[in-house]
Every structure is written in structure tokens, then in C-alpha cells.
């Protein structure tokens, strides 16, 4: 662990977008002026009470916030340890936490006068949220999605198209999230004059990691208030899954300076950490990709490796830079769950609580199933149920059916 711990874990990034050595602005010159404009537009918006007031109206009446903090009684009994609460982000309009960030960014884009929105998507949750808000505000929407993901997340592709978005299947590289982000960046560099890039996670060049975190932090702020109301105190531990890490950062950030709160992030271990996986902290090292320095999966020559996860939303060889920093400072403990563990957790939550989780969120449930039994009954554990599993029903159904044969 780092010997020189900061006074606060919540003060980053610095003015150049760094969290320790991580973060930064590693982009082509064409994009740099726009990124500086965005930084300024976001700072102005943040300081404008009218911006927050307008956001609050949409968060309440359009997204449906606050999302409930639900005591999972049967899951708690089943695991026989900590008292488990689910933060129900899957109940948001569009079915995941992604909408919190998209709403914020679309409002910033409108302030900047941008009429064309582009986004990358893995599982399609961010793409659906972006398509939804573009429909609501009458903006053109183009979503880049790896061709492999287009295949395994068909329901979300259909949803995006129904909402009026154009979905571009990306054929380069491994044809998953990383490649979708490359092509979105190529579009942005080409159409920089009228286009706003709505990044779906706490990654990319500064100010994105900070801005997305700020918009997602509503998850943690609500959790604090709701736990206070339910139990009269702070939770003892938090768990969330991590691809880029936006749902996790949203839940964690308001609690980073509460030392009594243990925090766990769960990466996707795919087939296992010695085989194909998507756990950048467990299996990667610091490098530079997609505008920021962070932990990446790569070979000895610095070439980026292809990630693997059953969950399209976690299938990315990097992680947000603030997570990389929280990992190195030791404030957050990062674990990983395999495809198999996530599948088992997917079924467990469906059967015990009547809630079908997204495969992404099932990774958090999987580690919860290990951690909760080791904790006393008065230990309050919150897991971020970041998305609902409707989109995964065909894929999981096929896998389970194939196994019955």
C-alpha cells in the first residue's frame, strides 16, 4: 500500500485531470480545443443552480429517481451473514444506471449548442440511454457498437433503433467495446464541429472521468440518505461490478472518506485470470489508451490485448483512471468474478428475490455471495444492482438450454 496517503480520497483530479499518475488528456490535437471547451462548459454548468434544478426535474420525473434501497431479505437469509441491501439502479428508466450520466452530458451538450450526439456501447445499456435522451431532446444520435456485441445484445440494438438512433456495427479488432470506442473517437475527430461525444463510463480524456463520476455520484448520495433512514447509520461495506467503472464510482465516491466503510469493486475474470478475461487491475499494468493513463491489458510491446467477458458491458481491456488510483492507494479492494460465477449469481438473484440482474451486475452479486457469509448479521452491505437483465435473457437462456442437452 502507498505510504503517502492523501488527506482526502475525494479531492481529485488535479487541474490537468490526474488522479495520482492516472488520467490526463492523451488525445489528438484536433480534439484538444473541444475538450478544453467541454471542461469550461461543464465547470460553468456545475456552478449554475439553474442547471442542477433542471437536472433534478428530469431525474425525478423522467428517470424515476430516487432509486430504492431495498432490503433483500431472502438473499440475506440464504447467505446467512451480513444484512444485504440492493441499490435498485435497474429500476431507472432505460433499465440501468447509465441514464444518470447521459442525462447530465446531454444537458451539457445542449448548453454547448451541439446537435449531434455519438456514443460507444458494449452491452447496449449506455447506447439505449443515449438514444432515449436524444429522442427526448430531438438530437441526432449515432451509436458505435462492436459487431460481436450487436449479435449478443440484440434486444438493445432493436431498442436503440426504435428510439431513432443509428447503430453502427464496428468490424475492427475484436469487434467489442474497445473497438467501438476507437470508431467513436474517429467519428468525433471527423465531425468535431457539431458533435458531442457522450462517453458512457468514468474513462477517456479529462474532464470525462470526473464529469461522469459527478453525474453518477447521485447513486452514493442517495444510498447515504436512504441507509440513514433505514438503519440510522452508514453502511459497513459496498460492492459493485466494474468494466470502465461508472456504476461503482457513483456508489463509492461519496463514501471514500468514511474509513469505516469497506469498499469492493468486482472485475470480470472471464474464463479465469490465467486465461481470457477482462480484469485490468488484476491482470494489467499502467499504460495509455483512449485518452487516459490507466491499468490496461497488454503484451510486452505495449499492444493492447483483447478482453473477454460473458458480459458485453465489462468486456473492455481498461478501467477508469480513478479506480486505478484507488487500487494503488488501497482504499478500494478489487476482486474478480468469472463468467461461471456471474451466471450462477444471475440465477440465484432471479430465484430468490424475483429480480433478474444484468450479467454485469451479476458479477457483484457473485462476490457478495462470498463476502456476506463471512460478515456478522449486523453488518450492513450494499450492492449496486446497476442494471436489469432483460437484455441478457436470450443469451443466458441459450447457454442454460445448451447445458441441459
Amino acid at each position: 500500500m502507498n505510504q503517502n496517503l492523501p488527506n482526502s480520497f475525494r479531492s481529485g483530479p488535479d487541474e490537468r485531470g490526474h488522479f495520482g499518475i492516472f488520467g490526463g488528456r492523451f488525445v489528438a490535437e484536433t480534439l484538444m480545443p473541444l475538450i478544453l471547451d467541454l471542461e469550461k462548459a461543464y465547470a460553468d454548468a456545475k456552478a449554475d443552480p439553474a442547471f442542477q434544478a433542471e437536472m433534478n426535474v428530469y431525474l425525478k420525473d423522467y428517470v424515476g429517481r430516487p432509486s430504492p434501497l431495498y432490503f433483500a431479505e431472502r438473499l440475506t437469509e440464504h447467505l446467512g451473514g451480513a444484512k444485504i441491501y440492493l441499490k435498485r439502479e435497474e429500476l431507472n428508466h432505460t433499465g440501468s444506471h447509465k441514464v444518470n450520466n447521459v442525462l447530465g452530458q446531454i444537458m451539457v451538450a445542449r448548453r454547448m449548442g451541439k446537435k449531434r450526439i455519438i456514443a460507444e456501447t458494449g452491452a447496449g445499456q449506455h447506447g439505449v440511454a443515449t438514444a432515449t435522451l436524444c429522442a427526448r431532446f430531438g438530437l441526432e444520435c449515432v451509436v458505435y457498437m462492436g459487431a460481436v456485441d450487436v449479435e449478443r445484445q440484440q434486444p438493445n440494438v432493436i431498442r436503440m433503433e426504435m428510439l431513432g438512433a443509428k447503430v453502427v456495427p464496428v468490424q475492427s479488432g475484436a469487434r467489442t467495446l474497445k473497438d467501438a470506442m476507437n470508431d467513436a473517437l474517429r467519428d468525433w475527430v471527423t465531425n468535431v464541429h457539431n458533435t458531442f461525444y457522450c462517453i458512457g463510463t468514468v474513462a477517456g480524456p479529462h474532464p470525462y472521468p470526473m464529469m461522469v463520476r459527478d453525474f453518477q455520484s447521485i447513486i452514493g448520495h442517495e444510498t447515504r440518505t436512504q441507509m440513514q433512514e433505514a438503519e440510522g447509520r452508514l453502511p459497513d461495506s459496498l460492492i459493485a461490478c466494474i468494466g470502465g467503472g461508472s456504476n461503482a464510482m457513483g456508489l463509492f465516491h461519496p463514501f471514500l472518506d468514511d474509513p469505516s466503510v469497506e469498499i469492493f469493486g468486482v472485475e470480470a475474470a472471464g474464463h479465469g485470470l490465467t486465461q481470457l478475461h477482462a480484469a485490468s487491475l488484476a491482470g494489467g499494468r499502467p499504460g495509455v489508451l483512449h485518452g487516459n493513463r490507466t491499468y490496461l491489458l497488454m503484451d510486452a510491446d505495449g499492444q493492447i490485448e483483447e478482453a473477454h467477458s460473458i458480459s458485453a458491458g465489462l468486456d473492455y481491456p481498461g478501467i477508469g483512471p480513478e479506480h486505478a488510483w484507488l487500487h494503488e492507494t488501497g482504499r478500494v479492494k478489487y476482486l474478480s468474478a468469472t463468467d461461471e460465477e456471474a451466471l450462477a449469481a444471475f440465477q440465484l438473484l432471479s430465484r430468490l428475490e424475483g429480480i433478474i440482474p444484468a450479467l454485469e451486475s451479476a458479477h457483484a452479486i457473485a462476490k457478495l455471495s462470498e463476502l456476506a457469509p463471512q460478515r456478522p448479521k449486523d453488518h450492513l452491505m450494499v450492492v449496486n444492482l446497476s442494471g436489469r437483465g432483460d437484455k441478457d435473457v436470450p443469451q443466458v437462456g441459450d447457454i442454460l438450454k445448451a447445458r441441459q442437452k
Binding site: 488525445v27 489528438a28 476507437n182
Partner: protein, 278 residues
């Protein structure tokens, strides 16, 4: 300190003509063919050579250069081998400037200090790193200057007068003006708009200004070379490599000669330009 780049532009200025800058991908489709192409370039009329360092995720490149990089990586190319290629080239040619162009991660992983030392020893003169804007100068630009390498910055249509001084501050060798907002190999550059942009940049710097992105034909190269100190061609050359591979993507007996023929034609275009404006 004078580099081969400074010397070459001084020489061209005396001759009263603009530079023809060629881009090839290191290791495309294999290390040997790539070295043969490299050696053929000066004879075919290249004044400055940019060598692409292959990277899996070239976010500013179009399909042609993406594919060239992937062919090179598939053929086992690494940054170490790219430097070895420059060393081999230098055994026969100690005058043609070599600029390595690519993305930061492979250099960061190699280690900035050892990379700069090895590049200098190999005979590299300058670096163009697409994802290192002036905001990140402490990463590689400043150390490169200290190591005696030129750090050549990209200026773009979005780099306005307010920002230009920051972009030019630590630039040396030449300025690379990206003629379009977009990726390599995209739309053709409009020579009138380019001439205006070059004039604008020249109000801020005494460095030579070379123009790239969107130049594919001898005619465009000539038009660009009339206002700029150099015209850069990349995608068209990389496409000529690809068009002369066999069905399995391997080099054929005509790969090197076909590339050399194209480069000769383009070089004639550049040499046909009226003297570049000062």
C-alpha cells in the same frame, strides 16, 4: 543543435523546392519487405521519411493504415524491431531524415528514457506522437528535446490563433499541418483552404510547415506543395503495399517496385510545384 531534418529543409530551401514526405508502416507486411521499401524511398524521390510504429488501437487512422498496422503486428513487428530497421537503413543512408510516427503506449511501455536513447542511436531524427498534445509535454516531448530528437507537433483546422503558440512552443524540425478534421485517408484536402492555414501558421513560426492527410495524387501533392514546405503522403502508399500482396497478404516480387513507382510519380508532382511561399 542541427538534426538531419533541419539540414534537409535548409538544403531544399536553397534548391527552391518543397519536401516530399512519405509515410510507410514499419513491418508491413513483414520486416524484410518493409526495409526494402524503406531503402527504395530516397531513390524514388522521398525527401523525408515517416515510419509508422504499429499499434493495435490507432484512433486517428482510417481503415488503410489500421490494416497496415495489423498486418505488421501479425508479422511479428515490435517497437524494438522498428528501431532495428532504422539502424539497418542508416548503414546506407546517413542523410534522409527519419521521423517515427505513432501512439504513445508502446513507447511508454518500452520506457521513455531507453526509447529515446535507442532511437537516437539507431538514427531517428524526430517523433510525431498523435495522442500527446502540448498539455502532456512532460511525458515525452521535453525529454525528446533533451535527447536531441525533434518533436514534431500536429496542428489542425481546430487549432485556432489563440492555441497555436502553445502548440508551437516545444515544436522543432517542422510543423505538420493536418489538412482536414478527420482520420488518415479520408476526404481530399482543399488546396485554397490549406494555403490559408499554412499562411496563418507561418505568421506564428519560422519552422517549415508540411501538410498531410487527404493527399493521394501527384496533382494534389503539387497543389499543396505550392503553398507548404512539404507534402505528406501516407494512405496512398500504404494502399499500394496492400494492392501488391498475394491473397494471403504476403509480399510479392512486385511489392517494392510498385511502391517505388508510385512514390516516383508523387515526387514528380511535388517537384513540379512552383517555389514554396516563405
Amino acid at each position: 543543435m542541427t538534426t538531419r531534418i533541419d539540414a534537409r529543409f535548409a538544403e531544399l530551401k536553397q534548391q527552391g523546392r518543397s519536401a516530399f514526405v512519405t509515410f510507410v508502416m514499419a513491418g508491413d507486411p513483414d520486416a524484410k519487405t518493409s526495409l526494402d521499401i524503406l531503402k527504395a524511398l530516397p531513390k524514388a524521390g522521398a525527401d523525408v521519411i515517416e515510419i509508422g510504429m504499429p499499434f493495435t488501437d490507432p484512433m486517428a487512422d482510417g481503415p488503410s493504415i489500421q490494416a497496415a498496422g495489423l498486418r505488421a503486428l501479425k508479422g511479428g513487428m515490435t517497437l524494438r524491431k522498428t528501431l532495428a530497421m532504422v539502424r539497418d537503413f542508416r548503414k546506407e543512408d546517413n542523410a534522409t531524415p527519419i521521423v517515427l510516427m505513432g501512439y504513445y503506449n508502446p513507447i511508454y511501455i518500452y520506457g521513455v528514457d531507453s526509447f529515446l536513447a535507442d532511437a537516437k542511436t539507431a538514427g531517428v531524427d524526430g517523433l510525431i506522437i498523435v495522442d500527446l498534445p502540448p498539455e502532456e509535454d512532460t511525458e515525452l516531448c521535453i525529454p525528446a528535446m533533451k535527447a536531441g530528437l525533434n518533436f514534431i507537433r500536429l496542428a489542425t483546422p481546430t487549432t485556432d490563433d489563440k492555441r497555436l503558440p502553445a502548440v508551437l512552443a516545444n515544436t522543432s524540425g517542422f510543423v505538420y499541418y493536418v489538412s482536414i478534421t478527420g482520420i488518415t485517408g479520408a476526404a481530399a484536402a482543399d488546396s485554397t483552404a490549406v494555403a490559408e492555414a499554412v499562411a496563418r501558421i507561418k505568421r506564428h513560426t519560422k519552422l517549415p510547415v508540411c501538410v498531410g492527410f487527404g493527399i493521394r495524387t501527384p496533382e494534389t501533392a503539387r497543389a499543396i506543395a505550392e503553398s507548404a514546405n512539404g507534402a505528406v503522403v501516407g494512405t496512398a502508399i500504404v494502399d499500394a503495399v496492400r494492392a501488391n500482396l498475394d491473397a494471403e497478404g504476403r509480399a510479392t516480387p512486385k511489392t517494392v517496385s510498385a511502391v517505388a513507382d508510385l512514390v516516383s510519380a508523387l515526387a514528380q508532382g511535388v517537384r513540379g510545384a512552383k517555389q514554396a511561399a516563405e
